[in-house]
Structures are given as structure tokens and as C-alpha cells.
């Protein structure tokens, strides 16, 4: 982890009519760190993440992603980030190889690079016998691992992961986090949201959103000390308990 | 029963909250009635023609006046040369050219014989024939007037009475057809899609594990469209009677009963389609692309079935809307009772039963 700032927000706000989903959040994320973005459902996490990815325009406030302005330079931002959500990442009706080639090509890899990357990815994930099969036929865990690998195929500065390990068994989750560590080791910043508190422990730093505001931002250890808790679970309960916004 | 009703209620919410689709469901029949009632017609009117009058005498002028007065023709030009005629056909899409030779009137008076040449654009053979006949009739009319001075013996007059539709309104033929088309297509389309959608989004699983019989679940999907179609039927009938002055000479209740039968038939067909498709796109494609034009043609209101090659005539027998069209005409326009249409009703009933039977059989109680 370096001290280079890859994400910097300044009073970033998103309003929907009278409702303030995200209220003047201000924070920084450093290059290469694994940054956990936590919060209860309805706290404003997804809204915040969408703004950072360039999917939604902020109502007010500023931010730079990988040095690019969130209002004026969304095209550059997109070239330098990766994204993976639980709902979708890959095309089910294309094969493993076709998905790799498509996304690699979109992100500007040359034909030679594409070829090399495909082989590398398939080997790393052990998908040799599945390479020509439709993604729809893969079990969920393999899909998610593949989706992550494809999300970072262009070695972006930051990769945004929206609850990437939902519905996946503990062994696959562990493997998934191995991949995350490898990516982090290569200098890619990981911005991940999750509900699994043990995963929160894997992060370098964590932020907790409650009712649209960041209530805490620190390393897991510091947070546990701060709230006299033994686990991140307890920290979460402490902070989220007082939340006014209930999730559905 | 209570569970069934809660499913039905959910389905009503789905349907009535989708305002855009609802707009189409109600808007389409209304648009069709207006169009068919006022705009679409088999008659030929305002056909663009040119006259090539080399004679420019009293006789030709009279004939031209007659042509101008009729609303079938619109004289766009009175050109002089033959070469311009071909151009007019190709460029301005004129349908007919009438050519009068130089000494038309003189020949008529002195030789008792004159020629007129009509050239028709036969791209549309029907229009060409009709217009040629009209023009010839007008010219013959003029000839008749010339003969008025002679008393002709042995004249036979025919007194023609137009039954059911004395004003020869096109709507009389079309409106029952629209009823058939709209009720059939809308029901099939909507039901098929609605059911397949559950399959596609995955909520079908939930329905299948619920304590209520899955088949009843499917029926609950059809019910809102059943009511919607009844509303559509009422709208069409009201519009036809008020706007288009169509009669309902027979029993209204019989009409409604038969329409209900067609609706159920269409819903069964939609059900059958949904059983055999996995995606909304396929369901839509089959219902729309596969059924729209064939239903339009095979119901028999756009083109007479007797004109079609025999194999096609046989195919029309399996199109439910064909039988319904006959039934509606008999009830609405001819004012006949059940005794006249029991055969068609039986066929429609049989088709419905068959479709329901097959859908029941092919309904998969589990997701494949």
C-alpha cells in the first residue's frame, strides 16, 4: 500500500428529490489497498459506489478517481477501472473464452495481449476443460472467479466489487480472496462492499456508512479497539444499531 | 379458493400497473376501428389519371367533365403527347391514361364509330381492372345519352336491392373482422408473454412450490386478460354502433356469449404457446410475427377465402377467428339466431377444448 491517493471524495452528495441518499461523504483511498466499504442495506453504499464508477452523477460535491474528475472525465475514469457486481458480470450465452476476448478487447488489449491473457487466465483458474463452454453452464463460484479475473484483465488502477461473494461457499470465497490479494499485490486498488464481516477483516481499511454518512473509517484492528469489540460483527452492530433508516 | 383469489389479485396489479402496455391494449382496438371504419377501404377513389386529348372537341369535353365529376378519378393532367404518358406512369404514379384520337367527335357524328384508348397501370391488377371498368362505364354512359333520341324496344330493367348493407359501407365487412383479430391476437400475445415472463425471471419456481395447484396459478394469469378483452369487446361494439352506425340486428347476449368463447379459445392458445417457449422474445415472436399477418388474411375479412388456393382454404379452417368472423356477421348484420350458427359455434368450442387439453398435457409441473 502506498500513499498515492487513487480515490478522493470531497462532500460527495446524491439527492433523490428530498431524500439524501449519500450525505457529503469525504474520504480517501490509497493505491494498492484493499478498501472495505461497509454499511447496512439502505445506508447509501450502492449509491456511493455508482457515483464513483461513473454510473450516476452526483448532486453536489467533488471526487477524483485515479486522478480524473468525476464530472468532466468520466470516459477516462471508465478506462481505468474495473467493475463486478453480484447480479451480473458475464454474458451467459457466450463461452468462457468469448467473454474474455470481448471484455479484453473492449478495454483495449491488442490481439497478441488478448491471446496471452486468455491462456493465462484459463490456466490460473483451472478452466481448461470449460474454456469453450457457455458461461451459463458454470457453477456460481467459478463464474464469480472468472468475472473477477475479467474485471481486472486490463490491470486497471481500481476495481469496484459490489458484494462479489454473495451466495458462494466458504472454500470458493477463500479462493476468491486469494485472487483479490494477488491483484492487490500487483498494485490494483480493491474497493469492495460486502456483508460478510470476516471478509471485512481481510481489508486494509474499512469505512462504515450509516444513514448516508460515513460513521467510521479505520483499519479493522483500530475499529475493534475503538468499539471494544472482539469481532467486526460487534463493531457493525454497534454502529448500525442506531441507524434511523431501516432496510426493507 | 382464497389462495386462488390472491393470485388473481396479484395478476390484476401486474397488468394495470403497466400503463404503457395498457395503453396499447386499449388503444389498438380503438385505432383499428377508426382506421377501418373511415380510412381503410377496398374502394378505389381519387385515382390519379391523365387525359391525352388530341381532339379537344365537344364530345371529349363532355366525357372529361363526367370523369372529373366522379369521385373515383382525379385528373392530374391533360397532357398532349404520348411520350409524356410513360413518364407520368413512372414518375407520378398515375393509374390510368385515357387517349382521345384527333377526330373523335367528327368520327362519332359521321362514321357513327369512334375510338378511345385506355392505358392502365397494371402493377395493381385489381385497381387497373376496376378503373378501366369505371372509365368504360362512364364512356358508355355518354354513349347511352347519345342514343336517347331513339326509342329502344324491349328494354329490361333490373331492380337491385342491396341486402344488409344498403349503403355498401366498408365498415360492415371490416368491423367483425377487427373484432376477431383484436380479441384473438391480444389475448394470445398477452397471456403467452405474461406466463413466460415468470419462467424467465425465475419467479415461476416460487409459484410452482406454492400450495396452490400450478395449473390454477396459470389460470389466474389469464383472468385479467379475460376481463380486459371483455372491456375491449364492449368498446369496439360501442364505437361501431355509435361512430360507424353498425347495426346489431341479432341478440346481443348471443354475441357476447360467442365472443367469450373466442376469448377463452385465444387464452388457451396463449397458454399453449407459453408452455413451449422459454423466453419472452420467442413468445412474442411467435404470437406477433407468426400470427399477425396470417390471422389478418385467413380470417377472411380482407380477402375472400373462396379466392384462395384450396390448400390455403383448408388452413383457414383451423384459424379460430375465421369461424368467429362468420358468427359475428350472422348475428350482428344478418340478425340470425343460434340455429344458424350452431355449426360454427361447435367448431369453435371444439378447438377451445382441444387447445386446453393439449396445454394441460404439456404443462410441465416442474421446471425442466
Amino acid at each position: 500500500m502506498t500513499s498515492e491517493v487513487v480515490i478522493k471524495t470531497d462532500k460527495l452528495t446524491k439527492r433523490f428529490g428530498d431524500f439524501i441518499a449519500t450525505n457529503e461523504i469525504t474520504f480517501e483511498v490509497y493505491a494498492g489497498e484493499i478498501f472495505g466499504f461497509l454499511g447496512a442495506n439502505g445506508a447509501g453504499k450502492t449509491t456511493a459506489m455508482k457515483m464513483l464508477c461513473g454510473l450516476s452523477k452526483p448532486s453536489s460535491g467533488n471526487a477524483t478517481i485515479a486522478g480524473f474528475d468525476i464530472y468532466k472525465q468520466t470516459e477516462e475514469i471508465k478506462k481505468n477501472i474495473g467493475y463486478m457486481s453480484q447480479k451480473f458480470s458475464l454474458y451467459e450465452d457466450l463461452t468462457v473464452i468469448e467473454n474474455i476476448q470481448f471484455f479484453g478487447g473492449i478495454y483495449g488489449l491488442s490481439d497478441k495481449q488478448l491471446k496471452a491473457k486468455s491462456i493465462e487466465l484459463i490456466e490460473t483458474l483451472g478452466l481448461q476443460s470449460e474454456a469453450k463452454k457457455l458461461v451459463a453452464s458454470l457453477p456460481l463460484g467459478w463464474k464469480q472467479k472468472l468475472a473477477f479475473s475479467v474485471a481486472v484483465i486490463h490491470e486497471p488502477k481500481i476495481v469496484f466489487l459490489d458484494e462479489p461473494t454473495g451466495g458462494v461457499d466458504p472454500i470458493v470465497r477463500r479462493q476468491f480472496w486469494d485472487l483479490i490479494y494477488q491483484a492487490s499485490g500487483r498494485g490494483i486498488t480493491i474497493f469492495v462492499t460486502t456483508h460478510y464481516m470476516d471478509e471485512a477483516e481481510y481489508c486494509n481499511r474499512i469505512s462504515m456508512m450509516v444513514d448516508g454518512v460515513i460513521q467510521a473509517l479505520d483499519t479493522p484492528d483500530n475499529l475493534k479497539k475503538q468499539f471494544s469489540a472482539n469481532t467486526m460483527d460487534e463493531v457493525f452492530f454497534e454502529l448500525a444499531r442506531g441507524a434511523k433508516r431501516k432496510s426493507d | 379458493m382464497k389462495q386462488f383469489l390472491s393470485f388473481v389479485r396479484k395478476e390484476f396489479y401486474h397488468v394495470f400497473r403497466d400503463k404503457k402496455t395498457l395503453l396499447m391494449l386499449f388503444g389498438l382496438p380503438i385505432a383499428l376501428i377508426v382506421l377501418f371504419g373511415f380510412a381503410v377501404t377496398n374502394e378505389i377513389k381519387n385515382a390519379k389519371i391523365v387525359i391525352c386529348d388530341y381532339a379537344k372537341d365537344e364530345a371529349t369535353q363532355q366525357i372529361i367533365n363526367k370523369l372529373e365529376a366522379s369521385n373515383q378519378f382525379k385528373i392530374t393532367k391533360t397532357i398532349m403527347s404520348h411520350t409524356e404518358i410513360e413518364n407520368a406512369f413512372k414518375k407520378e404514379n398515375i393509374k390510368l391514361a385515357i387517349i382521345f384520337p384527333t377526330n373523335f367527335n367528327k368520327d362519332l357524328l359521321h362514321l357513327n364509330k369512334a375510338q378511345v384508348q385506355i392505358i392502365a397501370d397494371a402493377s395493381d391488377p385489381n385497381t387497373a381492372n376496376t378503373l378501366t371498368n369505371y372509365a368504360t362505364a362512364i364512356i358508355m354512359d355518354y354513349q347511352q345519352e347519345l342514343m336517347k333520341n331513339n326509342t329502344i324496344p324491349l328494354r329490361i330493367f333490373s331492380e337491385i336491392r342491396m341486402l344488409y348493407n344498403p349503403e355498401l359501407k366498408g365498415a360492415t365487412n371490416f368491423v367483425p373482422g377487427i373484432m376477431a383479430l383484436v380479441l384473438l391476437l391480444v389475448c394470445v400475445l398477452m397471456t403467452a408473454v405474461s406466463i413466460v415472463r415468470e419462467k424467465e425471471t425465475g419467479t415461476m419456481e416460487i409459484l410452482l412450490v406454492s400450495p396452490i395447484s400450478p395449473f390454477l396459478v396459470i389460470i389466474s394469469k389469464a383472468i385479467p386478460y379475460f376481463f380486459l378483452s371483455l372491456i375491449n369487446l364492449s368498446v369496439i361494439l360501442i364505437l361501431s354502433v355509435t361512430l360507424l352506425e353498425m347495426p346489431i340486428n341479432g341478440s346481443l347476449w348471443l354475441l357476447i356469449a360467442e365472443s367469450t368463447l373466442l376469448i377463452i379459445c385465444a387464452l388457451s392458445l396463449g397458454l399453449l404457446i407459453s408452455n413451449n417457449t422459454q423466453s419472452q422474445q420467442s413468445a412474442m415472436l411467435i404470437s406477433m410475427m407468426g400470427m399477425l399477418v396470417p390471422t389478418m388474411l385467413f380470417t377472411g375479412f380482407m380477402f375472400p377465402i373462396e379466392n384462395m388456393p384450396v390448400p390455403l382454404q383448408i388452413i383457414t379452417n383451423i384459424v379460430p377467428s375465421k369461424w368467429y368472423y362468420i358468427i359475428v356477421k350472422s348475428i350482428m348484420i344478418k340478425g340470425l339466431g343460434f340455429s344458424a350458427i350452431w355449426k360454427e359455434t361447435l367448431i369453435l368450442f371444439g378447438t377451445t377444448c382441444f387447445l386446453m387439453f393439449v396445454s394441460l398435457k404439456t404443462f410441465k409441473n416442474r421446471l425442466v
Partner: protein, 373 residues
């Protein structure tokens, strides 16, 4: 550019891999093109006539023979009861009734004039009009025949006779298929191109994959092009198969005019159409909505486009609606080029209009697309 290549490759793969969709896109239009033109025929043939003959005279027999020999009519019933004949009409077994009154022959000869009674089932107004006209024509001819039998020929030399000759251009054999097939082909291509492409775009919206596209460097215009180009290609392909395979080998249609011109127009038409489907997709959130909207418009197009009924016959307000629909122009152009061999200068106006449509629809679509995403 490279991005577009990848997008197109993905789109084509997805379309062709969809085993359920593929036959519907390709097979259904072709099959319909084979069957439907056979069904579309306005000619009034095989009119069923019931004759009620109260006279049973030589004259009535002669008239009846003339009617049945004419080829227009088929004798459905011959009897002496009008009610019986009327029942035939109620059952749709007969289209019109000719009633010859008692004493027809005698009255005609003695009093120099007599009446015949005709009742026509006028539900189908056009059929009734034509049927009545044909019958009238036969009766008039019969009338002339009788006069010839009775009167001296020279009495008629003082009457003037106008001889009308008619020739048919562009479709010498009056083959109705030549007229319908190009028109139906246009409608089928329209359905596939506009309907399918609209559904395709909305599907991504509905399923949510559009979000993934939005975070990538794929520009909006590339995404749009990626969605529309495949259907432009498919549209061209179906048209070609329809024209050259089905049109030529099944119906014997050989275009008289320039194919280059035809395809040029087709290309622009498809662009306009795809613009419309893009526009539709911006208004729909679900496939069902897109389908409903597209269905509505396609029905209107089919009816108002001059495919089955001429637009000149429409009342003014309807005429202008017809003139503001793209399909109308293409149907006209297709018939002009294929049957009449019209050249570019003949259809210059149509070209301008279609380019206008293409620009307008695509412009509106892109503007609305930007607004809603």
C-alpha cells in the same frame, strides 16, 4: 473502431446462438412470403347466384344459360321460392338472388319492357358492387341479343358506338402476386428489423447487463451501433432471400428497374426503421412494453401503408397520416422499381423523404436515449 468490432462480434454470436429465435427471424418471414401472397387476391370470382324462376320460359332459360356461361357466376340454387333462395344467402351459400317474375317473356314482348329483381348480399360492399355490376352487364348483353332477334339490324346503324380499347402496362398478365409479393416482403422485413432490434435493446435494460456496459469504456454511440448494425444486416439478408429466392423462383418476379437503386433505398429505409426501434426502446422499460408499442405501430403501418388498400382512396386526414409513415414510401418505391422500372429521377422525392425520416428518427432516438440514461 476496435471496440465496435468486439461489440458486433458479441451481438452476432448471441443472435445466432439463440436456437429459439433464429428460426423465427429467418424461417417465419420466408414461409409467410411463400404462403401469404397466395391468399391475397381481390379479384371477384366464383360468385354464387341463386335463381328464382317464376316464368320457366325460353327467355328465362336463355338468360340463365348466359349467366352460367359467363364464368363469373356459379349456380348455387335454382328454384321457385324466393324464401328458399333467401335462406341460401343467410347461410352464405349464395351471394345474390335473381328473381325472374312470372310472365316475363310475354310481358317483355307485349309491353316492350319488363323488370327483373336482384337481391345482393352487400356485407362485403366491394364484392356486392362488382357482382351486381357483372350481372347487370350480362343482362344488358342479353337485352341486346333479344333486340337483335326481333328488330331489323339497320335500325341500329344510326346509333353511335364508342369502341373502348384497353391495354395494361407493367404487368401484362395482371398477375396480382407481382403486386403483393414486394409489398408483403417490405412488411415482413419491417417487422423483423424494427421489432427484433427494439426487443434486443430493451432486453439488456431489463436484465441489467446494460449497467455493466455503462461502466466500461464503451461509448454510447458504439453501444447503439452494436445493437443496430446486426439487424441492418439481417434485414438486408432477409430482403435478398425474399426477392431473389422466393420472388424469382416461386413467383417469377424479375425486377425491371435497377437493383442498385433498390438496395440503396433499402439501406436507407432500414436505417430509418432502426432509428424508430431505438426510439421505441427508449420509451420501454420491459420487453413486454417494447413489444406492445412496436405491435401497435406495426399494425398501423400495415393498414395505412398502402399494402392492401390504396392510400388514394383514404379521406384526407388519413391520407396525410399514411404519408407520414416510412413504410408507405418504401412499399411504393419497391413496386415502382420492380414493376415499372422507375429510375432515380422518378423516385428522387422518395429518397429525400426517407433520408429525412432516417435523420429525424435517429436524431430523436439518440437525443431521448441520452436523456434517459
Amino acid at each position: 473502431m476496435r471496440t465496435l468490432k468486439f461489440l458486433l462480434r458479441k451481438e452476432f454470436k448471441q443472435i445466432f446462438r439463440n436456437k429459439a429465435l433464429l428460426p423465427l427471424i429467418f424461417v417465419v418471414p420466408i414461409v409467410q412470403l411463400l404462403i401469404l401472397p397466395l391468399a391475397a387476391d381481390y379479384e371477384v370470382k366464383n360468385i354464387n347466384i341463386s335463381i328464382v324462376d317464376h316464368d320457366h320460359s325460353t327467355y328465362s332459360q336463355q338468360l340463365i344459360s348466359k349467366i352460367t356461361a359467363s364464368g363469373y357466376f356459379q349456380l348455387a340454387d335454382y328454384g321457385t321460392s324466393f324464401n328458399q333462395a333467401f335462406q341460401q344467402i343467410e347461410k352464405d351459400k349464395s351471394d345474390l338472388i335473381l328473381e325472374i317474375p312470372k310472365g316475363f317473356e310475354k310481358k317483355l314482348v307485349r309491353e316492350n319492357s319488363e323488370k327483373l329483381f336482384v337481391a345482393v348480399n352487400a356485407i362485403n360492399g366491394v364484392k356486392a358492387g362488382l357482382g351486381g355490376a357483372y350481372l347487370n352487364q350480362i343482362i344488358t348483353e342479353y337485352n341486346a341479343d333479344i333486340r337483335l332477334q326481333w328488330s331489323q339490324p339497320d335500325k341500329f346503324n344510326t346509333t353511335s358506338v364508342i369502341n373502348v380499347t384497353s391495354t395494361n402496362w407493367f404487368n401484362k398478365f395482371l398477375n396480382y402476386r407481382f403486386f403483393m409479393v414486394p409489398g408483403i416482403l417490405v412488411v415482413l422485413v419491417t417487422m423483423v428489423a424494427s421489432y427484433m432490434s427494439a426487443l434486443n435493446i430493451v432486453k439488456e435494460k431489463e436484465v441489467g447487463t446494460i449497467e455493466q456496459i455503462n461502466v466500461t469504456p464503451i461509448k454510447k454511440y458504439q453501444f447503439i451501433l452494436g445493437k443496430l448494425i446486426p439487424f441492418w444486416v439481417i434485414g438486408m439478408f432477409i430482403f435478398s432471400i425474399g426477392l431473389f429466392v422466393v420472388g424469382r423462383f416461386v413467383y417469377g418476379i424479375v425486377p425491371v428497374g435497377s437493383l442498385f437503386l433498390l438496395y440503396g433505398y433499402l439501406a436507407i429505409y432500414l436505417i430509418a426503421l432502426l432509428g424508430m426501434s431505438l426510439l421505441i426502446s427508449t420509451f420501454a422499460e420491459t420487453q413486454q412494453q417494447a413489444m406492445s408499442i412496436a405491435f401497435f405501430f406495426i399494425m398501423i403501418f400495415m393498414l395505412m401503408g398502402g399494402l392492401f388498400t390504396p392510400i388514394d382512396s383514404m379521406p384526407t386526414w388519413a391520407y396525410y397520416i399514411a404519408k407520414s409513415i416510412p413504410v408507405t414510401y418504401f412499399i411504393e418505391v419497391v413496386r415502382m422499381i420492380i414493376l415499372k422500372g422507375s429510375s432515380f429521377s422518378d423516385i428522387k422525392f422518395h429518397f429525400v423523404v426517407m433520408i429525412g425520416f432516417a435523420v429525424l428518427l435517429n436524431g430523436l432516438a439518440i437525443w431521448n436515449y441520452k436523456k434517459t440514461s
